[in-house]
């Protein structure tokens, strides 16, 4: 079956990826860790945005909370906890936040939800920069450690865990419920789906993986401040990667994020503005020409070549 082929392929890729640190240069490792963590963000976003249809422009909040949870646990003079415990604190903060904001915010639909998350991400940075325990607007310095191999393997493991979760979602009753909510929430409710519980679970899962990525990143770069932890462009990147690759698919967001990370890295080494600009252009073109993402374009049954793009336009233009 096609599915089993791609799973075997994925396994081979993962095994190969495990050995990358033994052959890669320092620069390559920097890029690889960044790319893996971004892929986690895109994949975690995919749970909520791709499967459930709730487009979040505020997942950076969970990333920031993961970052700060880890950093505070490790640096606060009353705690000085190990990294692992720090990650757990980051997860707790993010999940609590998801639960607290989830109830009011997930009642909103479409643009209301999107903008509420956008506003939340803007507000969080401002709030954190007023909290002394979080180093106010100066930030926190974590213990310095040079262990790129460890950070790489951790990031890879996280990405695998996140992707396996998404794979499970795509096959499970839970995932079926999420997709039903995406397709028609009212109908999903009358068909017996506890939409509130499903949406909150999706949000919590998304927040959880995002927070762990934030925690790993914090320890890796060993310095955080509100501007970088709650960086709104992070939202741009994760959304674009997932959408470009194929929202609501298992491997689309991975492929999308690896391709875009590589292109971004290549451009950023010359002009950084051009890289960001390219992201914007990619998303505009992607929405027009391949609104279902790369995954659909490659695996789809519709027309091939240019006809595929024309078909998409014909469907959606005025």
């Amino acid at each position: 079956m096609k599915q089993s082929v791609s799973i075997i392929l994925a396994l081979v890729v993962v095994v190969l990826l495990v050995f990358v640190p033994w052959v890669a240069s320092d620069v390559m490792m920097q890029f690889a860790i960044d790319a893996l963590l971004l892929a986690v963000l895109a994949q975690a976003w995919n749970i909520l945005g791709g499967f459930t249809g709730y487009v979040s422009f505020g997942n950076s909040v969970f990333y920031g909370l993961g970052t700060y949870g880890t950093a505070i646990a490790m640096t606060n003079k009353y705690m000085q906890l190990p990294f692992g415990v720090g990650i757990v604190l980051g997860i707790v903060l993010a999940v609590l936040c998801a639960l607290v904001i989830g109830l009011p915010i997930l009642r909103l639909r479409g643009p209301y939800f999107a903008i509420a998350t956008l506003g939340l991400s803007a507000a969080m940075g401002a709030i954190v920069s007023n909290i002394p325990i979080a180093g106010s607007n100066i930030g926190l310095v974590l213990p310095l450690i040079r262990a790129d191999t460890m950070f790489y393997e951790l990031s890879l493991a996280l990405l695998v865990a996140c992707t396996l979760t998404v794979l499970w979602i795509s096959k499970s009753r839970f995932g079926m419920g999420l997709v039903a909510i995406r397709e028609d929430e009212d109908a999903a409710g009358t068909m017996g789906i506890n939409t509130t519980a499903f949406k909150i679970t999706a949000l919590v899962l998304s927040a959880l993986f995002t927070a762990v990525a934030g925690g790993i990143h914090a320890y890796w770069i060993s310095f955080i401040d509100p501007a970088s932890a709650f960086d709104p462009t992070l939202n741009v990147r994760m959304v674009i990667m997932a959408v470009f690759g194929g929202p609501g698919t298992v491997f689309g967001p991975l492929v999308g994020s690896f391709i875009l990370s590589a292109v971004y890295e290549y451009l950023a080494s010359s002009i950084s503005t051009a890289a960001a600009l390219l992201f914007g252009i990619v998303i505009v073109l992607a929405v027009i020409f391949m609104p279902r993402g790369l995954a659909n374009m490659i695996g789809g049954v519709r027309g091939k070549g240019p006809r595929y793009f024309l078909q998409n336009i014909r469907e959606n233009r005025l």
């Binding site: 997709v179 039903a180 397709e183 789906i193 506890n194």
Partner: protein, 257 residues
């Protein structure tokens, strides 16, 4: 409430499955459903008719839980259900179709029906494999097997209605609310749907049918309930109710012109 004289006073025989008492719904001051009371007994087919805007769909929405009544009480198998969310009512076995068909557009027919099997009565079948099997059976039952892999939004009118039926049936309903499932069908297709509804009843399902096609109501319903301007104006045997002068005036007369 007006001094309402039931066209037939005889209480329906059998065990009561649904009780509505003094149900009222107002939208921005306008009364859409006004003090409506009725009962349904197990395994009957009740026809709900009335002119456009009479409040039929609103009433169904309140039973399925997408709307909350301002006044009155609903009981299902003796238990009050007013505080229950739509999904909880679905778990009890109250299932509905929509006047505007609501398939999940991006899902295949099989997936659509599987959702019904996965989440219906008692929370549905937990194992996806089994749910898919029972979905296949219901697709067969409704005669949609030839389109089982098709995307729901590619179906034509009659097949969409079949899909709605299959979804609702896969949920294992005790009470099925059918909102204008025959609208837009030709005479042959209406016959098919009537047969389908009768087959469902044979399986023990209690059915509420909202319909404009009077012929269908006549041949299907054990009893008829007529709404006009949100009020119940008649209830009882179809042969009697459909000849009631008030019903004819409010509804049939206007439609014949």
């Amino acid at each position: 409430m007006s001094a309402l004289a039931d066209t037939t006073a005889k209480a329906p025989a059998g065990r009561t499955i649904l009780q509505a008492e003094g149900i009222t719904k107002r939208f921005a001051g306008l009364v859409s459903v006004n003090q409506v009371s009725f009962e349904m007994v197990e395994n009957e087919i009740l026809g709900l008719i009335g002119p456009n805007g009479a409040g039929k769909t609103t009433l169904v929405n309140m039973i399925s839980g997408t709307l909350k009544p301002n006044e009155g009480e609903l009981r299902f198998e003796g238990q009050p259900i007013d505080a229950l969310a739509p999904y909880q009512r679905a778990h009890l076995g109250i299932c509905r179709t929509f006047q505007v068909m609501k398939p999940f557009p991006g899902m295949s027919v099989l997936e659509n029906v599987t959702v019904g099997a996965l989440f219906g009565r008692n929370g549905g079948e937990k194992a996806t494999g089994k749910a898919r099997e029972s979905a296949r059976e219901w697709i067969e039952f409704t005669g949609l097997s030839h389109r089982i892999e098709a995307k729901a939004d590619s179906l034509g009118g009659p097949d969409r209605k079949r899909l709605e039926f299959a979804k609702a049936l896969a949920m294992g309903p005790k009470l099925l609310l059918l909102d204008e499932v025959m609208a837009g069908l030709n005479a042959v297709e209406v016959e098919e749907v009537i047969e389908l509804i009768k087959k469902m009843r044979e399986r023990g399902v209690t059915i509420l049918v909202i319909e404009h096609v009077i012929k269908a109501i006549r041949s299907l319903s054990d009893r008829v309930l007529v709404l006009n301007h949100g009020e119940k104006i008649a209830e009882g045997d179809p042969a009697v109710v459909l000849e009631d002068p008030r019903v004819v005036e409010a509804y049939l007369g206007r439609r014949r012109q």
